[in-house]
């Protein structure tokens, strides 16, 4: 079975004739008669004029923002996105460090707990003898990095 044609060699000519406002009066007889016989070209002629009108009116009615404004907004948004992209690895590093610190703390606590249980008597005597000194040292170890963190954070 022969396939139905989907394009015609006169299609471009027919389209040009409509877009250049030559259809139907100013086109040659051969093309005019062809369009009347050819369903493809007939459809092209039928819709091309409507597209020309729609295009003209769409272009005329478009309220476009100024090119400089679009460019400026694009620059602004690009900078903001670049800043966000740059901040992403820092956040990832912070999360990784925090997770690592928590892990280390758990390990240390585990070790300390087992050690504490095995040498409970010795610790108790040590706390009684040097309790104040140990409390001061612990406070220093915890407070000093915390203070440094907040100070650097403010900067």
């Amino acid at each position: 079975m022969r396939r139905k044609p989907v394009e015609c060699e006169y299609e471009t000519q027919a389209l040009a004739a409509v877009l250049e406002a030559r259809w139907p009066a100013a086109v040659d007889k051969v093309l005019r008669e062809h369009v009347l016989r050819c369903p493809i070209c007939a459809n092209v002629v039928a819709i091309a004029d409507s597209f020309a009108i729609a295009r003209q009116h769409s272009h005329a009615s478009a309220a476009l923002p100024d090119a400089s404004r679009v460019f400026w907004m694009a620059q602004l948004r690009a900078r903001r996105e670049a800043a966000q992209d740059a901040a992403r690895p820092i956040l990832a590093t912070q999360i990784a460090t925090f997770a690592w610190a928590i892990g280390l703390l758990i390990v240390c606590l585990g070790v300390a707990l087992s050690w504490f249980q095995s040498s409970r008597g010795w610790v108790e005597s040590l706390l009684l003898a040097h309790g104040v000194l140990i409390a001061l040292a612990t406070a220093l170890v915890v407070l000093l990095p915390t203070a440094a963190y907040f100070a650097m954070g403010k900067e």
Partner: protein, 190 residues
């Protein structure tokens, strides 16, 4: 008023003389490119989405993505094709998000706007056209607009819409026939 260039006309523009060969556009180059293409892109977006307001939003997003993509473009036509590809993808995404607002929404104010200086029944024909376009699928609207309003070739339409070039002729033929019938112009039988 000077009209925008079609794809075919743009292929003849020599980029080496127009100074548009840089990868990232400076403002001056962008302004010139925007002036040449923005109206066409807006009209395309408005016709494909059927929503003027959405077309306004997507226009800015299209140009933003184009500027950010920083692809190397061989010439003005290639650059313009990229722009239409971005616009097509954005319109497609917007359509999925919005779950199809009625297409004919855009027709009303446009017709009113032109009714004042209507000549030879242009507004009537535009109404018919807008209604007929509303009956088509978004892809059919896009391919017909690119072919008959923008003068794009089959290859350019296929690339813009992400379709195979081989099937483009048949798809365009069917869409055109459908629109012609909707416009009330019956096919002339052999």
């Amino acid at each position: 008023m000077s009209r925008d260039l079609t794809f075919t006309e743009l292929s003849r523009v020599d980029v080496t003389t127009s100074g548009c060969t840089e990868l990232v556009m400076d403002e001056e180059t962008f302004r010139a490119f925007y002036d040449r293409t923005a109206r066409g892109i807006w009209a395309y977006l408005a016709r494909v989405t059927g929503d003027r307001q959405l077309a306004d939003e997507l226009l800015q997003e299209t140009f933003y993505r184009f500027l950010r993509a920083a692809n190397s473009h061989e010439n003005e036509t290639h650059r313009r094709n990229s722009l239409y590809q971005i616009a097509t993808n954005l319109a497609r995404d917007a359509r999925r998000r919005q779950a199809a607002r009625p297409f004919a929404d855009c027709a009303g104010d446009e017709i009113e706007r032109i009714a004042a200086n209507d000549t030879a029944g242009a507004s009537e024909r535009l109404t018919d056209f807008t209604r007929a376009m509303a009956e088509l699928k978004p892809r059919e609207r896009a391919m017909l607009w690119l072919a008959y309003a923008e003068g794009a070739t089959h290859r350019e339409i296929a690339a813009t819409l992400g379709l195979g070039e081989g099937s483009m002729k048949t798809m365009l033929f069917r869409a055109r026939r459908k629109l012609a019938i909707l416009l009330g112009r019956k096919e002339i039988k052999r």
